[in-house]
Symmetry: C2
Subunit: 108 residues, 2 copies
């Protein structure tokens, strides 16, 4: 459950610009401010079920964008390589570092 | 003219997954295979004007995605930093290299 929430938060970071304002509001209240569906439904005066459906559809859209663009996946790959690069630098293994920098450069 | 074409080619690389199959076909024939509007229009048996409008609309969509997601801009920033990192490494300026690696890591 926690892992899913973390994933959705990351996907939201990467793709929120492609969502509508209403989708962003519901997602921020539910995931960032940790409000319940009941509380959000009171604020907007729409049914709990409508909020629930909207959030589920938004999550599917985020997963759909990730399937097409892989921004979160590429971000993770880059971060892993950068950690490795930093560690090689700190241990003064400079020739391997060069290889890692080239690999980072290859990720779009 | 050449610069615009280069930009559209980059934007196409980053966002083609968000286009329809028809949009991709027209764009690839026009920009990658360098066919004329007349040649594309003969292949698909639709008017030259329809192809032209579709390609212009697709270009606007690509610019719209870039305005929202900035993938091309971030890619350029990363490449510039990576070139600098490689150059610092080759000239053995390792303490500055560390700063650059951190900067690359900060770009999503």
């Amino acid at each position: 459950m926690l892992e899913k929430t973390t994933r959705i938060n990351f996907l939201y970071d990467f793709y929120q610009a492609l969502l509508t304002e209403k989708q962003r509001s519901y997602m921020e209240m539910y995931y960032l401010e940790d409000l319940s569906l009941g509380e959000i439904s009171e604020t907007y005066n729409v049914s709990r079920q409508a909020i629930y459906d909207n959030i589920r559809r938004t999550e599917q859209m985020l997963e759909g964008y990730e399937e097409k663009l892989n921004l979160y996946k590429k971000f993770q790959e880059r971060q892993t390589l950068l950690e490795k690069a930093t560690s090689l630098m700190n241990s003064e293994q400079y020739s391997e570092l060069k290889t890692i920098l080239d690999k980072i450069s290859d990720i779009e």
